[in-house]
Every structure is written in structure tokens, then in C-alpha cells.
């Protein structure tokens, strides 16, 4: 194990106090800038084109999502999770819904769990496609972004078929799914799985062996494994540095222990390794989706039937008195989970996404905290940026794969 006694803490205050000398130039990158992926602002101190200091300033997209969570009933907060990481909405839903289910002690039926996995992996693909497109665009490869967005449309079509929405899907519900799976959906997903490996090959043909791409990514933004652990990085940022940590393997949720997949690890910890890791993750996601489609039962319940916490089926509401009353209470007053606190993490496309909920027994969470992976990962930017060139900064922002909605919340 790493000897943490040898480590010294980060002194961020000292970084901020690097006042520019006369030879240096302070460049304010953002919040309006084409490649800060939204409204990130970076205060760069440059000497020529070499970055002396880099100071990310966040908060331009802060909407107080956590505070909103403390004033909404449990079921009402699901749409808000869409709006944190808006390029991977279903994964956010999943993290929150699983946390609430853990709090209430309920479990979705097997069929719903498989479909949750399929949707979560499709989300990972969609998110990685946005990452790949914008990352390549930042480094100047114009066409890749259009190819990735072309293929992302197919995933969004699947989402639309499944739940009617494309971007902010509000897909997962507490307890499972209340609507039936559209009958043509499995074939749509299968068709996509047949097509997508060819698309990955296409991206790789354009980038993986491209000398300019290699020059721009190899040896740039190296994070050593211990540094990555100390920063608390997760996701591809951590695995690119060769640390084997994937929530799906380490703390399996849903039915990830029933499918076979590998966790790709990098060997050098640079931008190129994180690129390779994410590309391989896309292949593994396809593997997971295919296995899920094989294993998922064709029929069976999609919604848990727990009298207190889950919205009753529509048919029962219309026919039985008890369910009609429960439905009324559920809608008007909300449900009250037991007292206690709970943390549940899922492997989001960007890393470990955790929801921490403190319940005081009322229908509204006492405290809701989102551990968003990009917020934590973004902290490694100053470490990677020091001594890099100005042009590397955009590659580094791209390699962290941030979505400002999730960073600021």
C-alpha cells in the first residue's frame, strides 16, 4: 500500500499567492470561452506560453441543487438530478434512486434492475461520446465531434423510445419503472450494439495512431497513482493512472456481479492513457449491455410493491380502495422513510457519483449531499497544468471530462 505518512498536504493557499511577476501574463480563460465546457473560469499565469499557475474558479452555474433537495419531497427530487450532469441524466437518476431505495430498504424487481443497467451503460456511452467529441475538438480534430454526436443521437433515440425524453430524461423512479418497456426497445438496443463497435473503430482510426494526437496527449497531464488517490480522483482519471477502482466491481450494485466485464487501467497516467481507458470502457459497456439483454426476463414486474414508499400501480389505484388512498397520500404528502443516513455510490461515466441523504423521518430529506465526480476530478487541474503549455490546458480540461452543471450543482 501507499505510505500516506510520507505525504504532505496540498497547500492551495500558496498556489493562489503566486502573484505574477513582470514577465508573466495573467490570462482569464472563461467563463465565456469556447473550450471550458460551459462556464468554468480559469485564471492562468503564463510565462510565454508556459503555465506557471492555474486556478480554476467555479460556481458560475451554481443553482443550489443540494439545497433544493432539502426542500423537495423524495420523489420530487429525481428531475433535479437530471440537471446536475445533464449529458448523463439517467446515471444521476440512478444514483439518487438507489440511495433512496437503500434508505427505505426496498429493492426493484430483477427485470427493472437489468433495464436500469442497460440504461446506465447506454448513458455511459452517450456521455463518453460527448467527452470524446469535445476533447478531440479542443485538440483540433474537427470531424470526430460530428461523428460522435451522430452516434449519440442513436442512444438518445433509445432514451426517447423508452421514456419520451432525450436529454433530461427523469427516467428512473423509486422502486423501478412504473411503465412497461416498449416492445421494440430490446431490438433497438441490440441493433445499436451491433453497430456501435464499428463506430468506435472509426474514432480510433482517426485518433489513436495519429501522430499529432499522440504528440498532444502522450506525456501530457501525468497524474501518478498515489497523487490520483490523494486527490480523491475517481473514474477514468483514476484508472488512467493505473489504480484499479471501479464502483461496479468494488461495491457491486444492481446486478453488476452477474455480468462479465473488465476494468481497463492505464499504465502511464497521461491524457493518452485516459483516452485509451475511456475508449476501452465503451467497448466494455457494449459487452455489459449485450449480456443484460441476454439475461433480462422478458416479463415480470417492473415496480417494487412496497406499500409505503412506492407509487401504486395505476390499475390498482383505479380498482382498490387501499391503493387509491395510498396513491393520494403518496402524491399529496409524500412518503416518509425511516430515520437515518445513507450513502450510495454508482459508477457514473465520470467517476464515483455518490448521494448522501440524512433522513429525519419526514417526507423531506434533512440533508442531501451530492458527491459529484467532476467536482473532485477538477481539483487535479492545477496539478496537471503547472509547467504545461497554454494549448495543453484545453486538453487537460477535456481529459478530466467535466460538466459544469455537475461541478457547481
Amino acid at each position: 500500500m501507499i505510505d500516506f505518512s510520507q505525504s504532505t498536504p496540498v497547500i492551495l493557499s500558496e498556489v493562489r499567492q503566486l502573484t505574477p511577476t513582470r514577465r508573466e501574463l495573467v490570462l482569464n480563460m472563461g467563463p465565456q470561452h469556447p473550450s471550458t465546457h460551459g462556464v468554468l473560469r480559469i485564471r492562468l499565469t503564463l510565462e510565454g506560453e508556459t503555465v506557471i499557475a492555474c486556478d480554476p474558479v467555479i460556481g458560475y452555474l451554481h443553482r443550489g441543487v443540494e439545497k433544493l433537495g432539502e426542500s423537495h419531497r423524495y420523489a420530487q427530487f429525481v428531475p433535479w438530478t437530471d440537471r446536475t450532469d445533464y449529458v448523463a441524466a439517467p446515471s444521476n437518476n440512478l444514483g439518487y434512486v438507489l440511495a433512496v431505495e437503500k434508505l427505505c430498504g426496498i429493492q426493484a424487481p430483477e427485470r427493472a434492475q437489468y433495464w436500469r443497467m442497460i440504461m446506465a451503460e447506454l448513458t455511459r456511452l452517450a456521455s463518453h461520446l460527448v467527452w470524446l467529441g469535445t476533447h478531440a475538438l479542443d485538440i483540433g480534430a474537427l470531424s470526430v465531434s460530428l461523428y460522435t454526436f451522430r452516434d449519440r443521437e442513436l442512444i438518445l433515440d433509445i432514451f426517447e423510445k423508452f421514456c419520451g425524453a432525450r436529454l433530461t430524461t427523469n427516467m428512473m423512479e423509486i422502486g423501478g419503472f412504473s411503465r412497461e418497456i416498449p416492445p421494440e426497445l430490446p431490438e433497438m438496443v441490440r441493433e445499436f450494439c451491433r453497430y456501435f463497435p464499428k463506430a468506435i473503430q472509426q474514432y480510433e482510426d482517426l485518433l489513436t495512431e495519429n501522430p499529432i494526437w499522440l504528440a498532444r496527449t502522450k506525456g501530457v497531464g501525468i497524474i501518478e497513482p498515489d497523487v490520483a488517490i490523494n486527490y480523491g480522483l475517481t473514474g477514468a482519471c483514476l484508472r488512467g493512472s493505473g489504480v484499479n477502482y471501479d464502483v461496479r466491481k468494488a461495491m457491486p450494485y444492481l446486478l453488476y456481479d452477474r455480468v462479465e466485464f473488465d476494468v481497463p487501467l492505464g499504465t502511464h497516467g497521461d491524457v493518452y492513457d485516459r483516452y485509451l481507458v475511456r475508449i476501452e470502457e465503451m467497448r466494455q459497456s457494449i459487452r455489459i449491455i449485450e449480456q443484460c439483454l441476454e439475461q433480462v426476463p422478458t416479463d415480470g414486474p417492473l415496480m417494487a410493491y412496497e406499500s409505503q414508499y412506492v407509487i401504486p400501480p395505476h390499475k390498482n389505484v383505479m380498482t382498490t380502495a387501499e391503493d387509491m388512498q395510498r396513491h393520494f397520500i403518496w402524491v399529496i404528502k409524500g412518503f416518509s422513510p425511516p430515520k437515518g443516513e445513507v450513502y450510495h455510490a454508482v459508477e457514473h461515466s465520470k467517476g464515483e457519483l455518490g448521494y448522501y441523504i440524512v433522513s429525519d423521518g419526514s417526507p423531506i430529506p434533512y440533508r442531501l449531499r451530492i458527491r459529484s465526480p467532476d467536482f473532485v476530478n477538477l481539483q487535479s487541474l492545477p496539478y496537471m497544468a503547472q509547467g504545461a503549455m497554454l494549448a495543453d490546458i484545453v486538453a487537460l480540461i477535456g481529459t478530466i471530462d467535466i460538466v459544469l452543471g455537475s461541478v457547481d450543482r
Partner: protein
């Protein structure tokens, strides 16, 4: 002929105005623009004298390279660090005047003796036409009569280049960057600097299918369970349970 004189006068006037601009302008970039203007007009005067090669070289070397570098440096340097050009220092003014007048006299003397004596050089119009033009004539003269001078100039430029490279070694940058880095580095186990070579790839030793070539000679390690490769103390030392 009168047209030529007219054009020459115009060019000469603009050239002098440009030169004046160099001296008068307070902004160094404006000075540089004045100098470029002056140089371009001189190039045009060469053109009138049918010295096309000289004109083009004047533009490429002086306007295109030397002044560009001047502007480059001016933009890089902080305005406060620039020397004060317009201070009222009597000594400077006197020195400048004396040098300027001396230069003027020299040029005048040279021009006057040349036009007074009127002795034509070896390159008459016929001689130039015989070798195929002005450019060819210039080339022949430079590379036969003045061979030694050319070689010496080349040597001088080479020395200057080497000197520039030695002076511009990027030490100053890396020191400060390294200092800033030290502040940020979390773990002392792996100090890093700018000049460190890329670390050798660290691979798991056993297991065949777990190392997958991914691209450009770079492998990707595929972990099958959460327990693999978890005890890696540093780069290069991968252990399996």
C-alpha cells in the same frame, strides 16, 4: 525620366517621414511601423534602380524578419520595463546630434565622390545583360570576387546563432515552474520535474489476456475483479494477489 524622378521623390519623402516617425513616436510599436514604412520605400527605390533582387531581399530580411522580431520583443516586454527614450538628457541629445551629422557627412561624401568622379564600375549595362540580368550579376560577383567575405559573414551568423541558443536555454522558466510544482505536489514519494523522462510502462507480470495492446505501443491493463492490482506501491511494481 521625369516620371522616375517624381516617383523617386515621393518614395524618398515617405521614407524620410517614416524615419522621422521612428524617432518621434512614443509607442515603440508605432516606431517599428514607421521603420517598416521607411524600409518598404527604400525597397521601392531599389526597384526603380532595377535592383529587383536587392529590393526583395530588403523586404524579406529587414521588413519581414528583423522588424518583426523587434515588434515581437516589444510586445513581450512589459511597458514599464522599456527604457525611457524621450527623456531630456542633454548629453544624449548632443551625442545623437553629433553622430547623426557625422553619418550624414559620410554618406554625402560617398555620394558626391561617386557622382563627381563618375568612373563606371566593371558592371556596365552591357556586362549585366551579358550574364542574364541584375540578379545573376549580383550572384556572380558575390560568389566569386567576395567569396571570403561571404564565408566570414556566414561564420559570424553561425556564431551568433549558437550564442542565441546558449542564451535562450529554458532554465529560468523551469526553475520557477519547478518551485511552483513543489508547492503543489502532494506525495513526496514521486517528485516530478519538467525534465523527467517518461516512466517505463508498468505491466502486470502474470496473466496473458489481461494486457491488451491499445494503441501506439501503449498497453491497457484489463482488471477482472476489484482485488487485482490493488497493492501497487509505485510505478513499475505491479503485484497480483
Amino acid at each position: 525620366m521625369s516620371l522616375q524622378v517624381l516617383i523617386f521623390s515621393l518614395l524618398a519623402c515617405v521614407s524620410i517621414l517614416g524615419a522621422l516617425g521612428v524617432v518621434i513616436a512614443r509607442n515603440p510599436v508605432h516606431s517599428a511601423i514607421g521603420l517598416v514604412l521607411s524600409f518598404l520605400n527604400v525597397a521601392a527605390i531599389y526597384l526603380i534602380a532595377r535592383a529587383e533582387f536587392l529590393a526583395v531581399v530588403q523586404v524579406i530580411v529587414y521588413a519581414g524578419a528583423v522588424i518583426v522580431l523587434v515588434v515581437f520583443v516589444t510586445m513581450l516586454v512589459h511597458p514599464d520595463d522599456l527604457p525611457e527614450f524621450h527623456g531630456r538628457r542633454p548629453l544624449r541629445i548632443v551625442t545623437g546630434l553629433v553622430l547623426g551629422v557625422a553619418l550624414l557627412l559620410e554618406v554625402a561624401a560617398a555620394v558626391l565622390t561617386r557622382s563627381l568622379s563618375g568612373a563606371p564600375g566593371p558592371w556596365t549595362d552591357e556586362a549585366v545583360a551579358a550574364v542574364g540580368g541584375n540578379t545573376q550579376a549580383l550572384g556572380q560577383t558575390l560568389y566569386s570576387d567576395y567569396m571570403l567575405a561571404i564565408q566570414l559573414t556566414a561564420l559570424l551568423l553561425l556564431a551568433a546563432t549558437i550564442g542565441a541558443i546558449v542564451l535562450a536555454r529554458p532554465e529560468a522558466v523551469s526553475e520557477r515552474v519547478a518551485a511552483a510544482r513543489r508547492t503543489l505536489t502532494i506525495s513526496l514519494a514521486h517528485p516530478r520535474g519538467l525534465d523527467q523522462p517518461e516512466r517505463p510502462p508498468a505491466l502486470p507480470r502474470p496473466s496473458d489476456g489481461q494486457v491488451k495492446p491499445a494503441g501506439s505501443g501503449r498497453p491497457i491493463v484489463l482488471a477482472r475483479s476489484a482485488n487485482e492490482f490493488t497493492e501497487q506501491p509505485a510505478w513499475g511494481e505491479w503485484r497480483t494477489p
